[in-house]
């Protein structure tokens, strides 16, 4: 119950309290504004700072550095090979363990578990093959995925999954 009076009005004139509150609010608004800018830049999901490409020899991977749990993302893998025919792609099993693999296009001919990696075999009639893996991270935290293709190259992706 208020003990003070302002004129005839029984209420505490808590001006110092409100002045503190206004200062805190200004700081909070600044923080929220910063959060939006950080998000627009891509640090909380898709955006310019999130989009990344790594390349080694004939293997190029486009991916997002910053992901969100339970939101789909995509790895776009381009393999350049000397010959057409069977193309092999090795993906660290950590991807399947930490994320739901929604689709792989084109569909692999076979998938074999091989020493912590999943070996995918694709049939390709071109010297450049693009493979898209759609996945949905399950939990927040760092997600490291190694990708390799015998004869093309090997890359390591480091992603961060926001809750």
């Amino acid at each position: 119950m208020p003990h003070g009076f302002v004129g005839d009005l029984q209420m505490d004139d808590a001006l110092p309290f409100h002045q503190r509150e206004w200062r805190v609010k200004r700081i909070a608004w600044g923080f929220f504004g910063l959060l939006l800018l950080v998000s627009l830049a891509g640090f909380l999901g898709s955006g310019p700072f999130s989009d990344a490409t790594v390349q080694q020899d004939g293997l190029t991977v486009r991916y997002e550095r910053y992901l969100r749990a339970r939101r789909e993302s995509e790895l776009e893998i381009t393999l350049r090979t000397a010959e057409t025919g069977t193309v092999r792609l090795l993906v660290d099993q950590s991807l399947a363990e930490r994320a739901n693999i929604k689709s792989i296009v084109p569909a692999p001919k076979s998938v074999t578990a091989n020493n912590g990696q999943l070996e995918h075999e694709f049939q390709s009639n071109a010297k450049e093959t693009t493979i898209k893996i759609e996945f949905e991270p399950r939990k927040m935290g760092q997600l490291k995925v190694g990708l390799a293709s015998p004869g093309s190259g090997k890359v390591q992706l480091q992603m961060w999954v926001h809750p």
């Binding site: 004129g7 808590a14 001006l15 608004w29």
Partner: protein, 148 residues
């Protein structure tokens, strides 16, 4: 367990954002405020429920939200300082007919808002008929008219 944690996190976040946005934000003074409130509730619901549409999850979330509210009300009753921090305090906008300009500006309230409250609740016509105007903790403006 995840449902309860999710409910608590969303509850805390909403409490923080609404507390920091100011009393008058989304106080439903315009139709658009109401629309915005509905959009926020829909967004919140999706984040809380996620993909689990089971009755168990719904029960858990409801109990989490209600029990958190009950717990906070008990704590607020026990610790008045906590009540002041969580709910804020009433803010005097007009004293003896004089406007407190800084308070009005900081609370983003203008004469029109005060006149609207005066018209609605007391049928007053002019500012000089108002003795006290107070911005209450829920964002409403209370008017005490001058004695006629």
């Amino acid at each position: 367990m995840e449902s309860v944690i999710r409910g608590l996190v969303v509850y805390a976040f909403l409490l923080l954002v609404f507390r920091l946005s100011g009393k008058r934000t989304l106080s439903q003074s315009t139709n658009f405020d109401l629309v915005l409130l509905l959009i926020i509730s829909e967004t919140t619901q999706q984040a809380m429920v996620d993909s689990d549409h089971s009755v168990t999850n719904a029960f858990l979330l409801i109990v989490t939200l209600v029990m958190t509210t009950v717990l906070l009300s008990v704590l607020k009753q026990k610790f008045p300082a906590m009540e002041r921090v969580l709910d804020g305090r009433p803010l005097l906008l007009m004293e003896n007919g004089d406007q407190r300009r800084t308070s009005m500006e900081k609370a983003r309230i203008d004469e029109e808002d005060i006149l609207e409250a005066a018209r609605k609740n007391h049928g007053l016509e002019r500012l000089d008929q108002i003795k006290y105007a107070v911005l209450e903790r829920n964002g409403d403006i209370s008017i005490v008219p001058k004695e006629r």
